[in-house]
C-alpha cells in the first residue's frame, strides 16, 4: 500500500532555535541572502563614504554642471551642428553620434565580410579556402589595436595626398571624376537641392526638411508597392493566375521620389580641389575609414568562424536533399543552408556586435572623435571631472549594449526554431 508510507511531517509548532538559521534548509537561504545583502550594503557605503571624503579632501564637488560650460575644442566629424563655442554636453552628443555611426557601419561590414569569408572557407576551391584561413587566423590572433594602427598608417601612407591631384602632371586622379581617395579621407559626391525647404527645429537637432520629405515619400511608396504585391498574391492564390503588376510597382516605387527630387532641384555636389583640400562633396575622414576597416575586418574574422560553425552544424542531408531537388550549390546555400544556419549564427553574432560597439572606444588611437575621445577624453581632461565623466561614459555604453542585445535577442526569438 503506497499510502501506508507516512511522511514524517514537521511539527508546525516546533520551537524556533537560532541554530536553525544555519542548519535548516528552509531558513538557511534567508540567512545567506541577508548576510550577502548586509555585506553589499556595507561595501557600497564604504565606497561612497570614501568617495565623499576624497572629494572633500581634493576640494571638489560632485556635479554635472560642466556639461553646460563651453567646450572650446573642435570636432572634425560632426553629424549635428557643432562649433567650439558650444557646450561639453553638445560635444558629448556629437561624439555619441560618431560612435553610433561607426558601430553601425562596422557591424554591416563585419557581417558581409564574415558571411562571405565563412562561406568561402568551405568552398571547394583550395586556393580560396586557404586564403580565407590565412585571413581568419592572421586577423584573429593579432590585437585589434594593432590593426587599427596599421589601417590608420595605410590610409595615410599608401594613399596619395591631395597635392598629387594638382597641376598638369598630377600623379593621382579622381575615380570617374566624382570620387577622390586621398590620405585625408575619401571624398564622394553629396546630394544637394536647389530649393531648400528649411530645417525642422527639434531643439537638439535640426534635420533638413528636404531629407525628411524624401524619406517620407520613399517609405510611403514602398508601403504602397507592398500592398500591390500582397493583392497580387491573393489573386494568385484564389485564381491561380498572377496578374502582371511589375510595371505598376515600378511606377509606384520610382515615379513619386523622382518627381519630388526633380521638384526640389536635386543634383550632386562633386568634390573639387580648391586651396589646400578638396572642397564640396562628402568627406569620409581617414580616422573613420581606418576604424571602420579595422573593426570590420577584424570582427569579420570572428564572424567567419561563427558562420562556418553554423553551416557545419546543418546536417549533410539537407545539402543532399537540396541537390536532389535540383538546386544548384549557390541556391542550396542561399535557400536551404543559410536560413537554417542563421539560428546557430545569430547568438554569437550578437556578442560580436556588442564587441564592435565597445571597441569603437579605441578610436582615439587614430584620432577618431567618438564618445570616448570627446566626453571621456578631452572634456575630462579639461574640466578635471573624471568621476562624473567616467560614470556618464559607462552609463551610455551600458545603455548602448543593452539596446543592442535587447533588439538582437528579440530578432533571435523571431527566427528561432518554433518547435512543437
Amino acid at each position: 500500500m503506497a499510502n501506508a508510507i507516512t511522511f514524517p511531517t514537521l511539527e508546525p509548532h516546533q520551537a524556533f532555535r537560532l541554530s536553525m538559521l544555519l542548519n535548516d534548509g528552509r531558513y538557511r537561504s534567508y540567512t545567506i541572502q541577508i548576510f550577502v545583502l548586509m555585506c553589499l550594503m556595507l561595501g557600497i557605503a564604504w565606497l561612497v563614504d570614501n568617495t565623499i571624503r576624497n572629494l572633500a579632501l581634493l576640494g571638489k564637488d560632485f556635479s554635472f554642471s560642466f556639461l553646460w560650460s563651453t567646450a572650446g575644442y573642435d570636432i572634425n566629424q560632426r553629424l549635428i551642428e557643432y562649433d567650439t563655442q558650444m557646450t561639453h554636453g553638445r560635444a558629448a552628443l556629437v561624439g555619441l553620434l560618431n560612435t553610433v555611426v561607426l558601430a553601425v557601419l562596422s557591424c554591416a561590414l563585419a557581417t558581409i565580410i564574415g558571411v562571405v569569408a565563412g562561406v568561402l572557407r568551405l568552398s571547394g576551391n583550395p586556393i580560396v579556402a586557404r586564403l580565407t584561413v590565412v585571413y581568419v587566423e592572421v586577423f584573429r590572433n593579432i590585437p585589434l589595436l594593432l590593426w587599427i594602427l596599421v589601417f590608420g598608417a595605410i590610409m595615410s601612407e599608401a594613399v596619395p595626398a591631395p597635392n598629387a591631384f594638382k597641376g598638369e602632371n598630377a600623379t593621382a586622379g579622381m575615380i570617374l571624376g566624382a570620387v577622390a581617395i586621398t590620405n585625408r579621407g575619401v571624398f564622394i559626391p553629396e546630394p544637394l537641392f536647389t530649393r531648400d525647404l528649411g530645417t525642422l527645429n527639434l531643439g537638439i537637432v535640426e534635420p533638413s526638411l528636404n531629407a525628411i520629405a524624401v524619406l517620407v515619400v520613399v517609405i510611403a511608396c514602398v508601403l504602397i508597392s507592398r500592398v500591390l504585391v500582397r493583392h497580387a498574391n491573393r489573386v494568385q492564390s484564389q485564381t491561380g493566375v498572377r496578374p502582371v503588376i511589375w510595371w505598376k510597382t515600378m511606377t509606384v516605387l520610382a515615379a513619386p521620389p523622382l518627381l519630388l527630387l526633380w521638384a526640389l532641384g536635386f543634383h550632386l555636389g562633386y568634390p573639387e580641389l580648391r586651396g589646400f583640400n578638396f572642397q564640396g562633396g562628402f568627406q569620409l575622414r581617414n580616422a573613420l575609414i581606418a576604424m571602420w576597416l579595422g573593426l570590420g575586418i577584424y570582427t569579420g574574422a570572428f564572424i567567419a568562424e561563427n558562420v562556418r560553425a553554423g553551416i557545419l552544424a546543418i546536417s549533410k542531408g539537407q545539402t543532399e536533399a537540396a541537390h536532389a531537388l535540383g538546386l544548384r550549390p549557390g541556391k542550396t546555400m542561399r535557400l536551404v543552408i543559410l536560413p537554417q544556419a542563421l539560428r546557430v549564427i545569430v547568438p554569437p553574432l550578437i556578442s560580436q556586435y556588442l564587441n564592435i560597439t565597445k571597441n569603437t572606444s579605441l578610436g582615439l588611437a587614430v584620432g577618431y572623435m567618438d564618445l570616448r575621445s570627446t566626453l571621456g577624453g578631452i572634456t575630462i581632461n579639461q574640466t578635471g571631472r573624471e568621476l562624473e565623466g567616467m560614470l556618464l561614459l559607462m552609463l551610455i555604453y551600458l545603455s548602448l549594449s543593452l539596446i543592442i542585445s535587447g533588439s538582437m535577442n528579440a530578432y533571435n526569438a523571431r527566427v528561432g526554431l518554433k518547435e512543437r
Binding site: 544555519l22 542548519n23 538557511r28 537561504s29 545567506i32 541572502q33 550577502v36 545583502l37 553589499l40 565606497l47 570614501n50 568617495t51 571624503r53 576624497n54 572629494l55 579632501l57 568561402l120 568552398s123 571547394g124 576551391n125 583550395p126 586556393i127 580560396v128 586564403l131 587566423e137 592572421v138 584573429r140 590572433n141 593579432i142 590585437p143 585589434l144 589595436l145 594593432l146 594602427l149 596599421v150 598608417a153 549557390g330 556588442l354 565597445k358 571597441n359 572606444s361 579605441l362 582615439l364 570616448r372 571621456g376 575630462i380 573624471e386 568621476l387 567616467m390 561614459l393 559607462m394 555604453y397 551600458l398 549594449s401 543593452l402
Partner: protein
C-alpha cells in the same frame, strides 16, 4: 558458322581512346578545383592576383632589410635610397620590447617563470602528463610571484600558510556543519593574511634568508607586462568566475540578481573605461591616502573584467551538463557544495576549457589597451622608441615584430583550443 553481321554493326572492338584533354591529369584537377564555374574561376584569378601583388610589394622590402645599424639615419645611408626595412631597431631594442625595463642581469627570472608556467600548465592542459605535477601547479603562482617581483621567498610561503590555516580549521570544525566551519576557516585565513605576513616573514627571513633582488612592477613592460597581466587576470578570474556562475544559477533571488547585474555591467562597458577607472577613479573609492601600484590596480580591474566573461563561459559548461548529473548527485545524498565539487564542476570545467583558453587569448590581446593609461606594453614601448632621436620616424618594423609575437602566442593557443574541442567532441559520441 558464318558471320552474318549487318553492314552497320561493327565487327571488332574499338581500342580504348584517350580521355578528352579537359578530363585528365592536371587539367582535370585544375578545372574541378579552381575553375568549376565562373564564380570559382573569378575567385581563383582574384586570389592569385592579390597574392602575387602582396608578395611583390612586400617581399623586396622585407628581403632588402638592414639589421646592422644604430639609428634610422644610418639605415637610410646603408640602403642608399633603396626600398628596405630597417630591422636594426628590433636588434637594438628587442630586449626592451620583451621585458620593458626589467634589470638585464635578472632576465633569467621571468624566463624561468615562463618556463615553469608551461610545466605547471601541462597537467591541466595535456591529459597524458602525470597528475602528480598538479601539486607543482598549485605551488607555481607563489613561485612565479617570487621570481618576477623578487623579495623574500617567505612572503608567498606565509601567504600559502593562510590556506593551510584555513584547511586545518575546516577539518577541526567539521562537526559544526559545513556553513559555520567554512566561515570560521575563511575568517581565520583572512586574519592570518592580515596579521601574519609582516612579522612571520621577517622572522623567517632572519632565520633563513632566501631573497632575490626586488623588482618594482613599474620596471616591467613589453610582452612581460602583457603576459603578467593576462595570466594573472585569467587565473584569478577562474575561481571568482566559478562563484559568479554558480551565483547566476542560484535559486536565491538576491544572489542571482547581484550576479546578473555584475556580469551584465562588466560585459556592457568597454575594457578601456574599466582601465580608466583603475587609473583615474580607484583612488576616489579607496580611503584617502591609500595608494598602490598602478599595475596591481590594472590587474584588479582586468580580473573583474575577465571574471564576468569567465562566469559566462562556465555557465555555458554548467548548462551543457545533462540534468541527470545533478539529479544523480542529489540521489547520492550529496549536499550542494559536495555535489558541485565532486560531480558537477569537474565535468563542467572540462567542457569549458576551450572557452577558457579563448577568453585568455582575448584578454591577452586586450592587454594592449593599457597603452591608453600610460603603462608600457609593447605598443606603448614602440611609441617611446620612436620618440628617441635615433629611431624617430620608424614604423612598420616595430609593428611587424609586435604583431608577429602576438600571432605566435595566440595562434598556438587557439590551435590548442581547437584540438581540445575536437577531443572533447569525440568524448561525447
Amino acid at each position: 558458322m558464318t558471320e552474318r553481321n549487318p553492314a552497320f554493326v561493327r565487327g571488332e572492338m574499338l581500342p580504348a581512346r584517350e580521355p578528352p584533354a579537359g578530363q585528365t591529369g592536371l587539367l582535370k584537377l585544375l578545372r574541378e578545383n579552381f575553375f568549376k564555374d565562373w564564380l570559382s574561376a573569378l575567385l581563383t584569378v582574384m586570389s592569385l592576383i592579390v597574392s602575387v601583388w602582396f608578395v611583390c610589394s612586400v617581399f623586396p622590402w622585407l628581403f632588402d632589410s638592414v639589421w646592422n645599424a644604430n639609428s634610422l639615419s644610418e639605415c637610410r645611408q646603408i640602403l642608399a635610397g633603396a626600398e628596405g626595412a630597417c630591422f636594426a631597431v628590433i636588434r637594438d631594442r628587442w630586449t626592451q620590447l620583451l621585458f620593458g625595463f626589467y634589470p638585464p642581469e635578472q632576465y633569467w627570472r621571468p624566463v624561468l617563470a615562463f618556463a615553469l608556467m608551461i610545466v605547471a600548465l601541462a597537467p591541466i592542459l595535456f591529459p597524458p602528463v602525470p597528475r602528480g605535477l598538479l601539486r607543482f601547479s598549485v605551488v607555481f603562482p607563489g613561485l612565479a610571484y617570487w621570481l618576477i617581483w623578487g623579495g623574500t621567498l617567505w612572503l608567498p610561503v606565509v601567504v600559502y600558510g593562510g590556506f593551510a590555516v584555513g584547511a586545518v580549521l575546516l577539518r577541526m570544525t567539521g562537526r559544526l556543519g559545513a556553513g559555520p566551519g567554512a566561515g570560521l576557516a575563511i575568517v581565520s585565513a583572512l586574519t592570518w593574511w592580515f596579521v601574519a605576513p609582516g612579522p612571520v616573514t621577517t622572522v623567517l627571513e632572519q632565520l633563513l634568508p632566501l631573497s632575490l633582488a626586488p623588482v618594482a612592477s613599474r620596471e616591467m613592460g613589453g610582452f612581460l607586462l602583457s603576459i603578467v597581466i593576462g595570466v594573472t587576470g585569467i587565473s584569478l578570474s577562474l575561481p571568482l568566475g566559478i562563484v559568479l556562475a554558480l551565483g547566476r544559477r542560484s535559486k536565491m533571488p538576491l544572489v542571482k540578481t547581484i550576479s546578473v547585474v555584475f556580469i551584465e555591467f562588466i560585459r556592457g562597458v568597454p575594457l578601456i573605461t574599466l582601465l580608466f577607472t583603475a587609473s583615474l577613479l580607484l583612488n576616489y573609492f579607496l580611503p584617502p591616502g591609500t595608494t598602490f601600484d598602478l599595475i596591481l590596480r590594472v590587474i584588479i580591474m582586468v580580473t573583474l573584467f575577465a571574471t564576468a566573461y569567465m562566469a559566462e563561459v562556465i555557465r555555458g559548461g554548467l548548462a551543457a551538463l545533462p540534468r541527470g548529473q545533478y539529479e544523480a548527485a542529489e540521489a547520492l545524498g550529496l549536499d550542494y557544495w559536495k555535489a558541485q565539487r565532486l560531480v558537477i564542476m569537474p565535468q563542467a570545467l572540462k567542457i569549458s576549457i576551450p572557452g577558457i583558453v579563448n577568453s585568455f587569448i582575448g584578454l591577452f590581446k586586450d592587454t594592449t589597451l593599457v597603452v591608453f593609461i600610460g603603462l608600457l606594453d609593447p605598443i606603448a614601448l614602440s611609441n617611446s622608441i620612436r620618440a628617441t632621436a635615433d629611431w624617430q620616424g620608424i614604423y612598420w618594423e616595430l609593428f611587424i615584430f609586435i604583431g608577429a609575437l602576438f600571432f605566435v602566442f595566440c595562434f598556438g593557443m587557439s590551435r590548442y583550443s581547437m584540438h581540445l574541442e575536437r577531443r572533447l567532441k569525440t568524448d561525447h559520441r
